[in-house]
């Protein structure tokens, strides 16, 4: 199976801009959704799907040898839908059906209703375990695919995440990459104010993971991090991406009022002008 997408750096940066435009438009059209946590992950998704990180082929979405990507913080799925549409898994026009009747693009990813989703998520804290199962199946079946799971920092307050953290390290799952969208906010405010679980990289390291820290909005740094992740053996990788919630749109960035609210038509136009 070959990598289908490996854009040069400038094109990747531009792809992230396109994903952000989709996110804003989709959530505006749906009149509900989570802009903050979708926008913070846009550069990471661009790198994964278009930067040669994920081994994937839109023509063969169920190839047993494909790399898997699970959006464990399922509320950020608009940015995943955007990446998949841009990659050619389904028509870009379908993005406008987010959260609409008869659309497979549900508010959180549904494996049964939209089989190109690798897992159904939405209840936080559960995706890493499913990813571990896939990584272990890969080892048992002698497959060389990798499994990438994106978590939120608020999500990481769930106890199950740490059961999973222990378990993946104990099994030396070097075919597993946990990507933390470390945007410092959760639903109701900042991590620091609500349930401060710092120091974050130290915790993952203490659990036995190989830690890579990147600036999650610097494409070159992201690619460097993923390149390093590929060289790691004997340990799972904790890919900690420092991000800004709502990044890319000035009035959403860093303002957690935008955790879970849709832009108005005016706000959408303003955001798209910034993302032109």
């Amino acid at each position: 199976m070959t990598v289908q997408h490996e854009l040069p750096l400038a094109a990747l940066v531009d792809k992230a801009r396109v994903l952000r435009r989709h996110v804003v438009e989709m959530i505006t059209a749906a009149k509900s959704g989570h802009p903050g946590g979708s926008l913070s992950a846009a550069d990471l998704l661009a790198a994964l799907y278009f930067g040669g990180v994920l081994r994937h082929d839109p023509a063969r979405p169920h190839d047993p040898d494909r790399d898997r990507f699970i959006m464990s913080k399922g509320h950020a799925v608009p940015v995943l839908y955007a990446a998949l549409a841009e990659a050619g898994y389904f028509p870009v026009e379908q993005l406008a059906t987010l959260r609409k009747l008869n659309s497979p693009l549900q508010g959180h990813p549904s494996k049964v209703d939209f089989p190109i989703m690798e897992a159904s998520t939405g209840s936080l804290g559960m995706g890493l375990s499913v990813g571990i199962g896939m990584a272990m199946a890969g080892k048992l079946n002698a497959k060389d695919y990798k499994v990438y799971v994106m978590l939120g920092d608020g999500e990481s307050e769930e106890g199950q995440v740490w059961e999973a953290a222990m378990s993946a390290a104990a099994r030396k799952l070097d075919n597993l990459v946990m990507i933390l969208d470390f945007n410092k906010f959760q639903l109701d405010g900042s991590i620091a104010d609500i349930l401060d679980w710092t120091p974050v990289p130290e915790k993952w390291a203490a659990f036995g993971w190989h830690v890579i820290e990147v600036d999650g909005h610097d494409m070159a740094d992201i690619l460097r991090g993923f390149a390093e992740a590929r060289t790691v053996t004997g340990k799972p990788v904790a890919f900690i991406a420092h991000t800004i919630k709502g990044a890319g749109v000035s009035f959403i960035a860093g303002n957690n009022d935008w955790h879970g609210r849709a832009p108005s038509a005016d706000e959408c136009a303003k955001a798209l002008a910034e993302l032109a």
């Binding site: 047993p64 549904s110 494996k111 049964v112 690798e118 897992a119 159904s120 998520t121 939405g122 209840s123 559960m126 995706g127 890493l128 375990s129 499913v130 990813g131 571990i132 199962g133 896939m134 990584a135 272990m136 199946a137 890969g138 048992l140 079946n141 106890g159 199950q160 059961e163 999973a164 222990m166 378990s167 104990a170």
Partner: protein, 315 residues
């Protein structure tokens, strides 16, 4: 039952490379043969049942046939949301096996009892719930579950239960097994209580009543044809289970009955009450407390036959 499970899973894993047993830090020695037969396919996931359940779903999504196994409340209630979302919503073929169900671990205290698990799991869409009545049914249930394309819950006792079936009966998910035909009362048994129900049938004979005994091992989906026939042919149909009268076999049949009101028979539900057990003691003591004895079954059935009402003072 658990020895039958261990031996059957070993045989199945030898024949099918997709079979993987995930355990929540229990039964290591029990599965020594499995470990030898299927290296790498016994995985002790530690005391981390939520993670274990998600891992099983991930494996099933990649074509494996994982079985999760530990003490019943911990493999069901502790990880109910993982069962709901990862297994049932995604509709993947994971087999969940609980050991020490009902009052099997009476002496360990209420944390280890499981008289609500059937209720929790049977309301989940896509789930199949099987409660084998003896070790023979355990083997048959496991084999059938492995052929089933969706989630299955199998509810085991512990070890040393009496064998009811002298030879393996025909076994199909969703089809009750008539073990002993009768005319006057129909006893529908789900799970570990089956040997007690057989003894109760003998007591009925002593009283000049002929009792039919059915192992209704599958609580979901219910054997509707069998139920229709039973409520047509018998004045009284009794459900018996080592589980709460709420939400288990009795609850399921009561729901079914409310949708099918044109039947002659009355339903008598025998099980544990809507309460935690605060007494120490053995499994037999705990069963006696709830009237889950041959005598208790007969008394509750006769009371219902005579007065048309359930025993008022039962627990």
């Amino acid at each position: 039952m658990r020895n039958a499970f261990a031996s059957e899973v070993t045989a199945l894993a030898a024949a099918d490379k997709r079979v993987v047993l995930l355990s929540g830090d229990i039964g290591n020695r029990l599965f020594d043969k499995l470990k030898a037969t299927a290296p790498g396919r016994f995985l002790n996931c530690g005391v981390a049942e939520a993670n274990m359940t998600g891992v099983a779903a991930g494996m099933a999504l990649c074509g494996l046939r994982p079985i999760t196994y530990t003490i019943t409340p911990f493999v069901t209630t502790r990880c109910l949301e993982q069962i709901r979302v990862d297994i049932c919503y995604q509709n993947v073929p994971v087999i969940i096996v609980g050991t020490g169900s009902g009052l099997s671990y009476a002496s360990l205290g209420t944390t280890h009892h499981s008289c609500e698990d059937i209720a929790f799991l049977r309301v989940l869409p896509n789930m199949t719930v099987i409660c084998p009545g003896d070790a023979v049914e355990v083997r048959l249930a496991l084999r059938a579950a492995l052929q089933h394309p969706g989630p299955v819950y199998i509810r085991l006792g512990k070890k040393g239960e009496p064998i009811v079936h002298a030879s393996p009966p025909p076994f199909e998910i969703g089809k009750g097994i008539v073990i002993r035909p009768g005319r006057d009362v129909c006893l529908l048994s789900a799970g570990t209580i089956l040997p007690v129900v057989m003894q109760a049938a003998d007591r009925f004979t002593e009283k000049g009543l002929s009792a039919q005994v059915v192992s209704l091992h599958t609580v979901k989906p219910l054997d509707e044809a069998l139920l229709a026939e039973a409520f047509r042919s018998f004045r009284i149909v009794v459900t018996i289970e080592e589980h709460s009268r709420l939400g288990g076999l009795g609850g399921s049949v009561a729901e079914w009955l409310s949708d099918h009101p044109v039947t002659a028979g009355r339903l008598c539900r025998i099980g544990t009450g809507d309460r935690f057990l605060h007494e120490a003691g053995s499994q037999d003591d705990a069963r006696a407390y709830f009237g889950l004895t041959p005598g208790g079954i007969v008394a509750q059935t006769l009371a219902m036959m005579e007065t048309g009402e359930a025993h008022v003072d039962r627990r």
